[in-house]
Symmetry: C2
Subunit: 350 residues, 2 copies
Amino acid sequence: KSTKNITVLPGDGIGPEIVSEAQKVLAAVAGKYDVEFNYTEGLIGAVAIDATGSALPEDTIAACQSADAVILGAVGDPRFDNDPKAKVRPEQGLLAIRKALGLFCNIRPIRTFDALLDQAPIKADRLQGVDFVIYRELTGGIYFGEKGTIGEDKAFDNCVYERSEIERIAHLAFEAATKRCNKLTLVDKANVLETSRLWRKVVQELSAQYPSVEVDYLFVDNAAMQVILNPAQFDVVLTENMFGDIISDEASIISGSLGMLPSASVGTGSSLFEPIHGSYPQAAGKNIANPMATILSVAMMLDHLDLPEAAKDVRKAVDDALNSGFATIDVNKDEPQSTSAVGDRIADLI
Amino acid sequence: KSTKNITVLPGDGIGPEIVSEAQKVLAAVAGKYDVEFNYTEGLIGAVAIDATGSALPEDTIAACQSADAVILGAVGDPRFDNDPKAKVRPEQGLLAIRKALGLFCNIRPIRTFDALLDQAPIKADRLQGVDFVIYRELTGGIYFGEKGTIGEDKAFDNCVYERSEIERIAHLAFEAATKRCNKLTLVDKANVLETSRLWRKVVQELSAQYPSVEVDYLFVDNAAMQVILNPAQFDVVLTENMFGDIISDEASIISGSLGMLPSASVGTGSSLFEPIHGSYPQAAGKNIANPMATILSVAMMLDHLDLPEAAKDVRKAVDDALNSGFATIDVNKDEPQSTSAVGDRIADLI
Ligand SMILES: CC(C)[C@H](C(=O)O)[C@@H](O)C(=O)O
Ligand SMILES: CC(C)[C@H](C(=O)O)[C@@H](O)C(=O)O
């Protein structure tokens, strides 16, 4: 029996609820396959600030570094959002864990769900055949460049990229493209930004190593349109940190509910798996949040842990629950199920 | 008879074609109202580079500075896009004219057109009642901060904002809100960026001077979703340069065709009016591009020149042409009209 050490960071808002459903599903996987999951819990975000003063305590970092994988719920608390003077913010925990684990690549698959086509804001004919994946750089750019204020009345954020930061994620994206439909789209603003011109140069150079992959370049403003106008054109989308933040959240609309979309962040250390949605504080404690994004993130984790059959089972169980209408209120307005009921059902289906 | 001196910058691609239709419409306005339009032409963009080596020759700047208003077609040429080593780029002309004229505020109204609801990618029920305007900062931020390369393998773009840059556009946006529905939404990334925190602080402070205006704050990743999920929630959207570029192009989807959306850029000198679409090189010279965005930009110009009745006439003529199906191929696939036929019709309708 193999043992996997998983560090779990429930975080804020609905985080704890959705993470415990994901653990239910992992228990079902453990029952079926020859694997055991050992959990360590860690603090991150507002709950960590409240308990320790820091959004990412040292203990949490250590627990993540020694894990085979990390599951994160969500981070964020409205108490901090409109306070420009807050010195510590929950999101710092998220940024710090990315940096501490070297998670330079955030992977977000975008697909449609038949059960959700009706409620997606985009017309169904545009969504035919949509299946792409966004590779977002996660530890560089304007998020991590020098930033600060100069006196009371001036502020700056520096966006910096080095060739090596671009190369390592570009290789992952090119490799992904070779296993998919051999198309890579770089999203940048090379008509304005020096960093974008470096991205374009490096990707152009690397493309010689991947002759089967067709490379496309799109300015980010155009990309923001194309993601809605013609999302079926994409296969692998590669982009820098800030643009990836915007474009990947925008692309989530395609699925019909933010509550459905998983992500994996990989890099030089342990990998981290989290839903793309936030901490949804209005729903916290109400047992109404959709656990499927977290459960699908766990499916990505199972693939990563070399348990592809288990990953398939999880995805199929989610699809089955969804297709039978067994889902939370964001997906099934008429007969909504609770967070825990959905978790139970998916675990049962495995 | 009053005389208005208009500097016309046709620019690249379809620019010359659409600008001459706008001039046709202005001729009709001149015939009906007691006004005369005097034109000076200037070079900008790729055509300027080809002719002079510079994307914005001094002559052009001078002609714009002394004008009552400037009409711009479009700037951009694919010859320069994928060449990371190009030293001069057409877009530099656009950025330089913004800076030279002090055009710190780009105004983009977003609305729907009944004739286009069918072809908009978003379901019609989401589009009910959509009518908002984006105020995008246009001469600051990462576009104009220090940028460069360090050796071969490193690049940077600095995003800088000063309080005064935020205040002047925020005042315009607040004032616009008081004349509309008294709602202002600031789009930023205050959970990550120092510049965004300064934006939030300044807007919070100024809001005290506009007690009737309800102020909302939205992170840009969330805004990228809300613009599609629930666009009717917006009245005035205020944001910095880079986010405004992305969000306003995204929002253009709402209208059903990029070819319909006008913009005005205002600031410390002459104001500039241009369609939001680009130079559409594939259509250049084919007499198929939609001139309506440029014609509606001219309507914004007429308002600015204190000719509100004429502006109304132009808008009504566009609506009438549109509602009778008299439009270019982007709007009417079955019986498309040419660029010049659409311009003729709109001029006739005035
Ligand atoms: C919470 C925030 C700092 C974070 C980001 O911008 O990266 C989030 O939006 C995300 O995409 O994971
Ligand atoms: C062409 C480009 C430099 C420009 C910008 O990014 O501002 C364009 O996209 C726009 O929005 O007017």
